[in-house]
């Protein structure tokens, strides 16, 4: 299967959508910690200089200031690489934002191996785990520009904090323009009855490729894009487990505390079925191209196919 690459980087699709919202809603403000050029928030600064704040290299202060701005009715969006926006400022996210019930929108860019040439120091493979452990937090990983444009108004309207895990680069095109999405509802991308592949982010096209490869061998794989990791769509997962009897998860994250864990939490309680998790196997990140790192950590369609066969073996034994 060949996917076409979007000519628009997701960071640009994001900021264009945010500027459209900000045109109508004067409460939307943008904060960035010295990555305005990397994150395209510089465009927002040029268009709304009075509503864009570059705090400099101060992630903890940025998250706290965003909470204060929310307390006076602003809708703040904070921006920096996910390793800083989630990991470095975690205590501020926990207390000043979530515990204080101040609905800051946290945009972490370059998740997982998409941090590529910044290497292991900058590679958040644990951010979903950190953030989904915080009550009230919604965790979303948009897969393409169509989804990003569709969900951003919903994100802005939420009165609870949101973590958006965003690959800045040009994404593959998954959805047709006009597709609708609801936060908290997974999206079935392909039907199948033999097993279900649940994927997010850059593993979604890999999952679709894996399903294609499995189909050639007569195996029907259902593919779910679980773009909202928290709150997870338990209903859709339970139905898929009941109907297909086997599940493989696929994520650009540590297999501990990420999507795979979230799916396992639901299924082990409500409808246990054989399950395998594709993701980084509790290792630190490394430097290299995204393609290299996907191979290095087994974040590929081949790895999904392998796990699919393993889980089918368990299902049928």
């Amino acid at each position: 299967m060949r996917f076409s690459i979007d000519e628009v980087a997701m960071k640009d699709a994001y900021i264009d959508a945010l500027m459209e919202l900000a045109e109508e809603n004067p409460q939307i403000v943008v904060l960035d910690a010295d990555l305005m050029n990397s994150n395209s928030t510089i465009k927002f600064l040029k268009r709304f200089p009075e509503r864009a704040i570059n705090v400099g290299v101060q992630e903890a202060n940025m998250l706290g200031m965003a909470a204060g701005l929310a307390a006076v009715g602003k809708i703040p969006f904070t921006h920096t690489f996910a390793c800083f926006n989630a990991r470095r400022a975690l205590d501020q996210i926990y207390m000043s934002v979530a515990y204080a019930q101040l609905p800051v929108k946290i945009v972490g860019t370059d998740p997982g191996v998409t941090a590529a040439f910044n290497g292991g120091t900058h590679m958040p493979l644990e951010d979903v785990g950190f953030l989904r452990g915080i009550p009230t937090m919604t965790v979303i990983e948009p897969v393409d520009n169509v989804m990003m444009r569709a969900i951003l108004p919903q994100v802005a309207a939420m009165d609870t904090p949101v973590y958006l895990r965003v690959n800045r680069k040009q994404p593959v095109k998954i959805y047709a323009p006009g597709t609708e999405f609801t936060i908290g509802k997974g999206k079935v991308l392909r039907d199948g009855d033999d097993l279900t592949i649940v994927a997010t982010g850059i593993l979604v096209p890999e999952a679709l490729e894996a399903a294609e490869a499995l189909a050639e061998e007569g195996i029907g794989a259902r593919v779910i894009n679980m773009f909202t990791i928290k709150p997870i769509d338990a209903e859709l997962l339970i139905k898929a487990a009941q109907e297909t009897g086997a599940v493989v998860t696929a994520e650009n994250h540590n297999v501990i505390n990420g999507l795979g864990s979230a799916v396992a939490e639901v299924l082990s309680q409500h409808h246990p079925v054989p399950m395998e998790r594709v993701g980084v196997q509790d290792l630190f990140g490394e430097v290299g191209s995204v393609e290299y790192l996907q191979q290095r950590f087994g974040l590929t369609s081949e790895a999904i196919v392998e796990k699919a066969k393993a889980v089918l073996g368990r299902k049928n034994s």
């Binding site: 403000v29 009075e50 509503r51 704040i53 705090v55 400099g56 101060q58 903890a60 202060n61 940025m62 998250l63 706290g64 200031m65 965003a66 909470a67 204060g68 701005l69 929310a70 307390a71 006076v72 009715g73 602003k74 703040p76 205590d91 501020q92 926990y94 207390m95 000043s96 515990y99 204080a100 019930q101």
Partner: protein, 281 residues
Amino acid sequence: MMLEREEQQRLEELAKEIRIATLEEFGHLGFGHIGGAMSIVELLAVLYGKVMRYKPEEPRWDGRDWLVLSKGHAGPALYATLALKGFFPYDMLKTLNQGGTNLPSHADRNKTPGVDMTTGSLGQGMSTGLGVALGLKMDGKDNYVYLVLGDGECQEGQIWEGALYGGNAKLDNLIVFVDYNKQQLDGYVDNINPLGDLRAKWETFGWFAQEVDGHDVAQIYEAIRRAQEVEGKSSVIILHTIKGKGCTFAEGVEFNHHMRFTKEQIEQAIAALKGAEGNAV
């Protein structure tokens, strides 16, 4: 700008009432963060007795001035003040730290009427206070933000992130107070990680900085008015205070950040305050 003699006496009386109410509040419990609560009492008396605009019957009134108690462990002193000013019934002070209470150990904006910000993890109120001040400025509002830091808290990196940003942002609707009571949980600040010339540090970061006796209501009041007259600068007032001030069993005691105490100790401390005239506690 000078505080008249009668006003001064009124605020000193209020400070005494806040101390007594705080002691009664702690007394029901038998333990608590008494040292840092006692050292900010005169500040609270000046703010809630004279300076701040607020409506007890409408705690989130949008015309109010904000108090961000970044040293959130001093919450009980703030609760005592809010109760005395009618934000909630005085009797509620008895519920401090009891299961299901609206008066938790550390200040919580979602639990206590009149508490404007959730604090407790030190350093964080610096940034949330900046955000509130900035947001009010964006909307062209004239509300003030009063932000209270501890001295031990000034060892947190986030304070100096905020100090740098706040100095550059020139938020003349923001007045920061440092409760410089010279003691932190493990002992004297100077023996642990000294703050050096604190005023010079804030000045270097671009702030209008003053130093006053934090137990002198007139000095506190006059410093606030001077700060309000300064345009185009964020302000800080360093309050030289005594940890445990005015509490017979806590003042001058080395480890008085969090203490256990008996009912008798509380009664004696309250009796001493009731017997004392004005500021001479």
